[in-house]
């Protein structure tokens, strides 16, 4: 790539204000002129750039907005506009995907080829240097539309909901399922890989015995609504078991799943589940009980 220096004049439409006062400040930088076809405040550019799915999308936008014929693009005009976006984005130091620059180079190349006098005989299909670009734009546009169509189609859990009835009287035979622990672990490893991307989640903590005990304590407490602190400990488990239970209770407290109650100093401590089932949530518990 020749790495051109983008030296396009800012469009004629954007007159600098006579007094020279900046029309906008973006991140401390003063702008004295607005790009002509940019009907959005430069502030919004970052958001704006996010709104484009790449250079083809941006080009299409420029073409469609001006009702230009996609099969007969005025390359000089479009190139100029496209460059202005690219330039502005660079000035704003927005992270610009390399694809945008590649497209810029391609546009410049097409433009220069159009400026050159044509040799008298060229192969026919190479006639219009814009052909490849126009083909790509059209191709992209049809899939862009198809994506919108797909988005508009009724979707499960969004526009339509699968119907489901309870089956209290159905005796379900214990299904023979063939799952190995390995498969389960592979699934977990997949989840972790994905969770690493979304980074919002930490799936690191590993005290499984504590996790297990948390479930056990919570189940015991929920059943009774509350429970004497001491009853949750089973001395026969030995010191380690007691420590695990204690850690589990601390973790439950931290997650706001239980609270401790004590009427007066030195009185017995009670552990209570913070939430009681919502009317509708009974089902979940009931479902498993049957």
């Amino acid at each position: 790539m020749c790495g051109p220096r983008w030296g396009w004049p800012i469009a004629d439409g954007a007159e600098p204000r006579a007094d020279g006062a900046p029309v906008a400040r973006v991140r401390g930088e003063a702008y004295t002129e607005l790009p002509a076809d940019l009907y959005i405040p430069p502030d919004a550019l970052e958001v704006f750039l996010d709104a484009f799915e790449g250079p083809l999308d941006l080009l299409l936008y420029l073409i469609r907005r001006q009702n230009l014929d996609i099969c007969d693009i005025p390359i000089a005009q479009i190139t100029e506009q496209y460059m202005r976006y690219v330039e502005l984005m660079q000035e704003l130091r927005l992270e610009l995907a390399a694809e945008y620059l590649v497209m810029a180079a391609m546009l410049c190349e097409i433009k220069s080829r159009l400026l050159l006098p044509r040799p008298p005989t060229v192969e026919d299909d190479e006639d219009d240097p814009r052909a490849e670009l126009m083909r790509r734009l059209q191709e992209y546009e049809r899939f862009k539309e198809a994506a919108e169509d797909i988005d508009a189609m009724p979707r499960l859990h969004r526009d339509v909901f699968p119907a489901m009835a309870a089956t209290p009287s159905v005796v379900r035979p214990r299904r023979e399922v063939d799952v190995s622990l390995r498969e389960l672990l592979a699934a977990m490893s997949d989840v972790m890989q994905r969770a690493a991307w979304s980074s919002a989640h930490h799936v690191q903590r590993e005290a499984l015995s504590v996790r297990e005990r948390m479930s056990g304590c919570l189940a015991a407490i929920s059943r009774e609504r509350f429970c004497a602190f001491g009853e949750l400990f089973d001395p026969s488990e030995g010191r380690l078991g007691v420590v695990v239970t204690f850690l589990a209770l601390l973790e439950l407290l931290k997650e706001d799943l239980v609270e401790l109650d004590q009427c007066e100093p030195l009185a017995p401590i009670y552990v209570r589940a913070v939430a009681t089932p919502a009317a509708s949530a009974d089902e979940a518990a009931e479902g498993h009980g049957e």
């Binding site: 009835a165 297990e212 948390m214 919570l218 919502a278 509708s280 009974d282």
Partner: protein, 200 residues
Amino acid sequence: MSEPSLKAIIEGALLAAGEPLSIERLRALFPAGEVPEPATVREALETLAVEYEGRGAEIREAASGFRIQVPESVSPWVARLWQERPQRLSRAMLETLAIIAYRQPITRGEIEAIRGVTVGTALMRNLLDREWVRCVGYRELPGRPALYATTRTFLDYFNLASLEELPTLRAIQALDEPGAEGDGGDDDDEAASASGGDET
């Protein structure tokens, strides 16, 4: 499309919910100013119940509200749905189960946040039905979501004495070969068996 009737809305809600709905929850489906009277809702429920008579579903009032269920008369046939194929667990189910095992007690919303995908009612119910998972409490949040944990049955099935016998997450991470392609293969199998079953 004309506005659906109160009855249609109630019917749709009961069918979509997958759990009993109280009259209050049914009324909450309507925007302020259009909330029907409890008596009107009850009436619509009764009309519906009559319409469902003799069909493949019935409307019943349970402790926590009304639900649509498959009547006993049809159960013997319906039960064969689960007899037929020794099912493979779907990937979604395996992942959900694994997350519950490692992160219990956990709500459905939290599982969804980790998986980045909706966890269907049918899937949760399936895990509950197998008794691999149970509800151990509720989180103090709007809607009081249930907290799920694994069960003894789950441990037995996988031959574990306790959860501690599961490898640590770090060890699992080490299992990974980069660019694991197990995926492609798995999906093929599933699709193949699915299409096999569906061919007429």
